[in-house]
């Protein structure tokens, strides 16, 4: 990005260059194992059509849960030095990711691996990044969990809390200016609320009313002063509080929020996560969320003829997810580390004399 942008008369700006599109996933030869755009697996029967959105949510959660588990295993065994599980935030993150449309932009937090998956990221690419190998598009520069998704309008997470909030609002304002009817999503945790980025983002959102969903995942309101709903109101920004432990409710709320921000500008969606002190392990949140979608799906087909079909479908998803994640992790572990030269690339559009000279130091 950045180069070769051409101006369209109205609407979003054309992306030139070599970006893959979401609906044209990279020909990496492993499409069958990828969680790609429509998240269908080959066995998908048409009869479950109306359930597909929930099934996609289920699948995203299933993969995210397995990624979390695998990463905790890798961490225990010392392969991964750093990992922050999606955990209880998987439900929120998957729901948001399943809601966003292709032209939408996402500014995720470091817990949003489920959003990465729902946005079209493949588990294999995800593990390439987690293990910071040579296939990582960002050359292993980022801490594990801060993903890049080429072509995915999923902005690589920064280590500084809250900085993504005014950035997202800027992208939303740009959409307004360009007559782009997409929306921008920004996700953050409770700690970012005290940071200036939150304040700046809310001020800008109140002034320009861009199509931005600001989603704050909070666990038991820990660390928050006062009322987040009250604060949003104080800025003149609409807010809504949702049970972040209920992925189905989240999915619905995200869909409505998407409409709301397109109609009337930015809003703050407050996702209440289960109190971490109440759940046995951080990662239980991920499991509980996937189960919740399962239950909902089962209720929708209960006693009917689709029940066995569904059950078969979900089982297939789980088993594919297990295989995919295992394979992705194994494959990533075998890949070579990033080339030394990458340490001095991607600084400027063209390397300056400093980077050129210093490439000698890498030898």
């Amino acid at each position: 990005m950045g180069e070769d942008r051409t101006l369209t008369s109205d609407g979003p700006i054309d992306e030139g260059g070599e970006r893959a599109d979401l609906d044209a996933p990279e020909a990496s030869g492993e499409a069958a194992n990828e969680v790609d755009d429509d998240h269908s697996v080959d066995t998908a029967p048409v009869e479950l059509g109306d359930l597909e959105p929930l099934i996609r949510l289920f699948e995203t959660l299933a993969v995210a849960e397995r990624v979390d588990n695998e990463c905790q295993r890798l961490q225990t065994s010392g392969v991964l030095s750093f990992y922050v599980p999606g955990g209880a935030q998987n439900a929120v993150s998957a729901a948001v990711g399943c809601t966003l449309e292709e032209g939408d932009w996402a500014y995720p937090s470091y817990r949003d691996l489920a959003m990465y998956l729902a946005r079209g990221g493949a588990p294999r690419a995800l593990f390439d990044q987690l293990l910071a190998n040579g296939r990582d598009p960002a050359a292993g520069r980022q801490l594990p969990g801060r993903f890049s998704l080429p072509g995915g309008r999923y902005v690589s997470v920064s280590g500084a809390l809250g900085t993504q909030i005014p950035q997202a609002v800027g992208t939303g304002i740009a959409m307004q200016l360009r007559g782009d009817h997409s929306v921008t999503l920004v996700s953050f945790g409770a700690a970012a609320v005290a940071q200036s980025g939150f304040h700046q983002g809310m001020e800008l959102a109140a002034r320009f009313r861009p199509p931005v969903i600001m989603i704050c995942s909070v666990a038991a309101r820990a660390g928050l002063q006062g009322s987040l709903e009250g604060r949003a109101g104080g800025y003149g920004v609409a807010s809504r509080t949702v049970d972040g432990g209920d992925p189905v409710a989240m999915l619905e709320a995200c869909g409505e929020a998407r409409q709301t921000v397109r109609d009337s500008g930015a809003m703050l969606l407050i996702a209440e996560l289960p109190d971490p002190a109440l759940s046995a392990a951080k990662n239980n949140g991920g499991l509980a969320a996937r189960r919740a979608v399962e239950t909902q799906l089962e209720e929708l087909v209960a006693g009917g003829p689709r029940a066995p079909l569904l059950s078969e479908r979900l089982a297939a998803i789980l088993s594919t997810a297990t295989d995919t994640v295992r394979e992705a992790s194994a494959s990533a572990a075998e890949s070579a580390p990033p080339a030394a030269s990458r340490a001095l690339e991607d600084i400027y559009g063209e390397p300056s004399w400093m980077q050129q000279e210093q490439s000698e130091w890498l030898a």
Partner: protein, 325 residues
């Protein structure tokens, strides 16, 4: 075209780029009232409307964050700061986010934006508004830092900045805003990033390296030195990061004497980088120690500002020390 001074040149170049490229937008504080604190945005709101000229809340981190989000999306934002110290609330966005985004994302996202920074002493700005902030910017690979000293270069550098691939900090010496007017060509010329300009040549004598607000002071001192029989070659950097190392080295290798003139506080300033580069790469050519003429290691006072900021007599004295070494 009419003759323009530096701030008029910035205004002109902004208007012209906004005219020719609908992706260029301007963000700033109080840009609707009287075109911002210094009038550089005058008339732009009327010409381009509130969608292209955005008045933002008084928060420079938000200003730069929003500009970054616009640049990532594909716009070409120009963010105007009221004065140099307003960089501080925005420095996390500039240093950690904007400068590193291309690297962080493996080249996937870029932030080609321009941050305009009115800076520098000599205008009675008081101790906490118009410092020389370049040291806080030139330690950030990924950023481009430019500092024009005249209307011609301001137009050409702003064009290059708005057409390049990288985020650019555009330092505008506040003391030169209305210093001198000059004819600006009608042509769509650019001043390339990374190219210094030799303002005054000589074969032997002293190489004086400077930029921004210190250019007229340095030229005055060079003139006084010439009258006293000492030749001075004046190299104006124009781009600070990445600076034109070829031109700087060539000059010093030729003359064997180097003087770096900056307005910023001496210790830890950008001048140190220039001197260090010479000590590393031109040592055998040096016939005298390299000197820095710089601001005091103190904040800039409102009263008696002239004590803080280098003037031509301090520069001249250094030239004399170097030639008589």
């Amino acid at each position: 075209m009419a003759s323009l001074n530096l701030v008029e040149a910035v205004n002109y170049a902004l208007g012209a780029e906004m005219e020719s490229n609908p992706l260029v937008v301007l963000l700033g504080e109080e840009v609707s009232e009287s075109g911002g604190l210094h009038g550089a945005a005058e008339g732009l709101l009327d010409r381009f409307g509130g969608e292209r000229v955005l008045e933002v809340p008084f928060a420079e981190g938000g200003l730069l964050g929003a500009a970054a989000g616009m640049a990532m999306y594909g716009l070409r934002p120009v963010a105007e700061l009221p004065f140099a110290e307003c960089l501080f609330p925005g420095l996390e966005q500039l240093s950690v986010e904007i400068a590193r985004l291309r690297f962080r994302s493996g080249g996937e996202y870029t932030c080609p934006l321009v941050v305009r920074v009115p800076y520098g002493a000599g205008i009675g700005g008081g101790l906490d508004q118009f410092e020389s902030p370049e040291a806080y910017l030139t330690h950030s690979p990924g950023l481009v830092v430019v500092a024009p000293s005249n209307a011609y270069d301001a137009v050409g550098l702003l064009r290059s900045a708005l057409r390049g691939d990288d985020p650019v900090a555009f330092l505008e010496p506040r003391r030169l805003y209305r210093h001198e007017s000059m004819e600006i060509p009608e042509t769509d010329y650019e001043v390339p990033i990374g190219e210094a300009k030799v303002l005054r040549e000589c074969d032997e004598g002293v190489s004086l390296i400077t930029y921004g607000g210190m250019v007229p002071v340095s030229l005055d001192a060079a003139e006084l030195a010439a009258e006293a029989g000492h030749e001075v070659e004046v190299v104006e950097l124009r781009t600070l990061l990445p600076f034109d190392i070829g031109t700087v080295l060539a000059s010093v290798v030729k003359t064997g004497r180097a003087l770096v003139v900056t307005e910023s506080r001496k210790h830890g300033g950008f001048g140190a980088e220039l001197v260090a580069t010479l000590a590393e790469r031109a040592l055998l050519h040096l016939e005298a120690p390299v000197e820095r003429v710089a601001g005091l290691d103190a904040p800039i006072p409102y009263a008696r500002e002239e004590l803080y900021v280098p003037d031509s007599s301090r520069v001249l004295a250094a030239i004399e020390r170097l030639v008589s070494f």
